[in-house]
Amino acid sequence: MARQGRDEQMIGLTIDGRPVRVLPGATIWEAARTLGIDLPVLCHDPRLEPVGVCRLCLVEVGEPKLTAACVRGAEEGMEVRTSSERLEVCRRGLVELLLSDYPVDVSRLPKTGSDALVELAGELGADWPARRRSGETGEAPGSRTEPAGGIPAGDGRALDHTSKVIFVDHQACILCDRCIRGCDDLQVNEVIGRTGKGYRTRIAFDLDVPMGESTCVSCGECEKVCPTGALSLRGWETLPEDAAAPGVEGWEVL
């Protein structure tokens, strides 16, 4: 939310040379928004508490290190730069790393046209890895399974078709935790968490059961906040007929 006002307590800073005053506690990202500057983000959503894991909102504040605007508080007299060659290189590099094992056949785009990672890749001119550019999609999506005990590589992370409304593609997950915060903090259903360590880390439902067997109530908040194709709408047209159709018994769900 925009925390701009005329209070005595307000903090004054400049962003790209433009002065702005915000309430104490406001982040640089929020301050930039009040100036109409939309810093790129994947892990942040204004409805969620920021966690600063995707690092795409990096800005320069005159310190040696770049800082994540979504978590860094605005400070009096701060001079913030939101774009520079250095920032562009860093952001593009981050996106290219995320794209390196991102599946091409991700289903979110055709459904909603809002895959934030792919859109950002376009905006930043990020290079897709060579095997992606060639249009080669690797394994057929239906056959993607996680190797038992091994480290997932390439398209090795699993798909989860068990929910009737949400399609889970762990390969497309960038571990931004937006779904976890949406499920736990907004809807307070507390179904989604993380499991595994290191490269094997992924989101999990309840005590790591398939989504369709978990206590998920299908509110769709995780799909709504997901910035990639990891959690996407199945769409009603992929489901079998409804109760009014004849022979409803005996159908199978993918």
Binding site: R47, V104, D105, V106, S107, L109, P110, K111, T112, G113, V118, G122, W128, G135, T137, A140, P141, G142, S143, H161, K164, V165, F167, D185, L186, Q187, V188, V217, S218, C219, G220, E221, K224, L233, R234, G235, W236, E237, T238, L239, P240, E241, D242, A243, A244, V248, E249, V253, L254
Partner: protein, 769 residues
């Protein structure tokens, strides 16, 4: 293979192809993308990119509307494929109501509107299909229906012939006039719908009152919060909520009484859970089932069904005994405290514990927590209202709030969670037999004169009959003709075997709906109406927020707007009703309803406004009754209540207590949600929830069929093992006609609210071998 045949092949297999920049994106949810197809796509890459140029962006448009399901009234943006006239997907939008959140019904349950079974042409019952009775073999009881089915069109439709709108409307109007002129206005009645808009509700009650000439007009509010409203009107002079649910974030304590909030008001529940999680708000849940809200509660009181009066009397006993009452508030703002004090003196926690089945110490602790709160909010649902003691239950909750000064400030208030998306609005608009729009009494001569002048006819001074009374009168033959707009009493009313006889007994029945319902099987004329998505109008949510639902899709075939149909019938009955648009109707309604004064479709905007709204540039008044109550004395009134048991207690023959209600994924009689693929896929059929030990005693495994029987009927359905149930209690949702819970329920009524006791009757459970 050419590009065109490739695209055809992909479409046939459900594979979608989109272009994003220089890339092709494939959705392959069926795993149907074979290596051959992949190779073909690669080979045709350039042509595909050229063919698909620009498709994805122009494909969907969006409409900002609201959700058609529950009283929370979430703001939704629907994304529409205009060429196909279908909603592709839905998303929550920013609004004070839901802050972009949705539940499973709102997000996934919209596809019913495009179902091929939508009625599109007016239907008239064939001569050969008289005398009237149910048409499908199952409703006649000839055979058991296959699980999962709704009304069988193949069985019912042959009994009707297609007609023009002219013929159908003329027939409806002339038959209603004939009955009115022959048997008097009192022989007619109408059931409106809490699913229709304020405008449609207003016109419907106007038609019944001005053209039929009777106050026999009611709707499903009677089956939901009639007792709460009766208690609220009697004690604080207003039937609506005193504060919005979202203000729970400012409450120190939230009491949830008789409401399975996560199932029935899922998005409202998220705000309560969030308040609890923030550490600010303590949560007390009182419920006979250990519902999901109980998992979040600081105190959970799993009381025996129907013992609420004893429990809250005991709380008040503790509060008085321990000095946890607001003496100043009681002195300045209330009356009748002494009478209440005398009654609750008899309800020590030890006495209540015997009745309610919870420990006295837990009753004390919960009461103290409530009493010590600076700000407390009370939420309640059908667990309070749907009892023969429903009005008494609500009176106790109101007394509890009055005694502790918890009405009229931020973070406090009474909030009966309203069920239907427009049950608040349909009630505000006067689809209630005792009151005109805005709760103005039909028995008050001055009020009546005002409406007689506005509507230009003489009006009936007698309050009309309520839903269950109308069914009783139809059975007796005193009600002969009915007009039903979007109600399906065959499944929603208690004791449906009696409803069936009553419907068969009517001389003439017009049903206006979007699907063939069980009720439509008894109709003489069926009028195909528009769904929520095909019309514009205003809807009032549980917070009193009036919001605009905007037209999203084109109606199918010859279906017509509900408000136009109502006007056509009125005009053809000799009472001209002509309006240019829903805005015109809204203007007439708001002129007669002081609470809605100042509101227009235009100033409601995208997020609506709360009534009352004295300054339309503001959002409306959130917290009511900060200074005085709209009662004669300006004070809130304590109305004491003594505990009385439910009407039909368990005995040797019928040892279980039946509780009925809804499931998260389904809506009422299932006509909408069972035609939604997603909702049906998640929950395809009924189950009866039972305690594991009760199942074991019956020798029944989870998922095995049992027969549940009451003195009124019996059904067969699978048993579900649930440790959320008390021993001796069973729960059955009422959505499923193949195991209609309301075959079992009792049609005993609460004396003040006339609400049936849906939440309590005695049943027997046995293995169905």
């Amino acid at each position: 293979m050419t590009t065109t045949t490739l695209l055809g092949e992909l479409k046939k297999r459900g594979v979608k192809v989109r272009r994003r920049g220089e890339r092709l994106l494939l959705s392959d949810l069926h795993g149907a993308l074979t290596p051959e197809l992949r190779a073909a796509i690669d080979a045709h890459r350039e042509e595909l990119l050229a063919t698909l140029d620009g498709v994805e962006r122009s494909e969907v448009s969006s409409v900002d509307s609201v959700c058609p399901y529950c009283g929370v009234g979430c703001a939704i943006r629907y994304f529409v494929d205009e060429a196909e006239n279908r909603i592709r997907y839905a998303d929550g939008r920013e609004s004070p109501v839901n802050h972009e959140r949705l539940c499973v019904k709102g997000r996934f349950g919209f596809d019913y509107t495009s179902h091929p079974e939508r009625l599109q042409i007016p239907l008239i019952r064939k001569e050969s299909s008289y005398p009237k009775g149910p048409l499908s073999t199952e409703v006649r009881g000839d055979r058991k229906r296959r699980p999962g089915g709704l009304v069988d069109y193949d069985e019912v439709l042959p009994h009707f012939r297609e007609a023009t709108w002219e013929e159908a409307l003329d027939l409806a109007a002339s038959r209603l006039v004939e009955i009115r002129d022959r048997d008097g206005s009192g022989a007619l009645a109408g059931f409106g719908s809490a699913k229709c808009s304020n405008e449609e509700a207003y016109l419907f009650q106007k038609l019944v009152r001005a053209a039929f000439g009777t106050n026999n007009v009611d709707h499903c509010t009677r089956l939901c919060h009639a007792s709460s409203v009766a208690a609220l009107l009697e004690t604080i002079g207003s039937g609506a909520v005193t504060n919005v649910f979202g203000d729970v974030r400012n409450a120190d304590v939230a009491l949830i009484a008789g409401s399975n909030t996560t199932g029935n008001h899922p998005v409202a529940a998220t705000f309560v859970k969030q308040a609890r999680k923030s550490g600010r708000t303590k949560l007390i849940v009182v419920e006979p089932r250990r519902i999901e809200m109980a998992d979040h509660a600081d105190y959970f009181l799993q009381i025996n069904s129907g013992t609420d009066v004893a429990l809250y009397n005991s709380w008040m006993h503790v509060l008085i005994e321990e000095g946890l009452i607001d003496e100043a508030y009681i002195a300045e703002r209330t009356e009748g405290f002494e009478e209440l004090e005398a009654v609750v003196a008899g309800y020590s926690p030890e006495v209540a514990a015997q009745i309610c089945g919870v420990e006295p110490e837990l009753i004390r602790e919960a009461a103290r927590t409530f009493g010590r709160a600076e700000r407390a909010m009370i939420f309640w649902g059908m667990g309070i209202s749907q009892h023969t003691t429903g009005t008494n239950n609500a009176r106790c909750l109101i007394s509890l709030a009055l005694m502790t000064g918890n009405i009229g400030r931020e973070g406090t208030g009474l909030h009966p969670l309203r069920g239907q998306n427009n049950v608040q609005g349909a009630s505000d608009a006067g689809v209630i037999p005792m009151v005109y729009p805005d709760y103005q009494s039909v028995a008050d001569p001055a009020v009546r004169e005002k409406f007689e002048q506005a509507w230009g006819v003489e009006l009936d001074p007698q309050p009309g009959l309520t839903v269950v009374e109308i069914m009783g009168a139809a059975l007796e033959g005193t009600i002969k003709g009915m007009y039903m707009m979007g109600e399906n009493p065959f499944l929603s009313d208690p004791n449906v075997n009696k409803v069936r006889k009553a419907l068969s007994n009517l001389d003439f029945l017009v049903v206006q709906d979007i699907f063939l319902t069980e009720t439509a099987e008894f109709a003489d004329v069926i009028l195909p109406a528009t769904s929520f998505f095909e019309k514009s109008g205003t809807y009032t949510n549980t917070d009193r927020r009036v919001q605009v639902g905007r037209k999203t899709l084109q109606p199918p075939g010859g279906a017509r707007l509900d408000w136009e149909i109502t006007c056509e019938i009125g005009t053809r009955m000799g009472y001209p009703m002509e309006y240019g648009s829903p805005e015109d109707v809204f203007a007439e309604f708001t002129a007669l309803a002081p609470s809605y004064a100042g509101l227009t479709h235009e100033n409601l905007g995208l997020t609506g406004k709360l009534w009352p709204c004295p300054d339309p540039s503001e959002d409306g008044i959130q917290v009511l009754f900060g200074d005085r109550f709209p009662t004669a004395s300006g004070r809130g009134k304590f109305v004491p209540a003594e505990f009385a048991p439910a009407k039909e207690l368990p005995d040797e023959e019928y040892p279980f207590v039946l509780n009925t209600g809804r499931r998260l994924e389904h809506w009422h009689t299932g006509t909408m949600t069972r035609r939604s693929r997603a909702l049906h896929a998640i929950r395809p059929g009924p189950v009866v929830d039972m305690h594991p030990a009760d199942l074991e005693a019956l020798g029944v495994e989870d998922g095995e069929l049992v027969e549940v029987a009451s003195r009124r009927g019996s059904i067969v359905l699978p048993a579900a093992r649930s440790d959320r149930m008390l021993r001796g209690a069973v729960f059955i949702p009422f959505h499923f006609r193949e195991a209609a819970a309301n075959l079992l329920t009792i049609d005993e009524l609460d004396p003040a609210g006339k609400i049936p006791e849906f939440k309590y009757c005695a049943v027997r459970v046995s293995p169905a071998s």
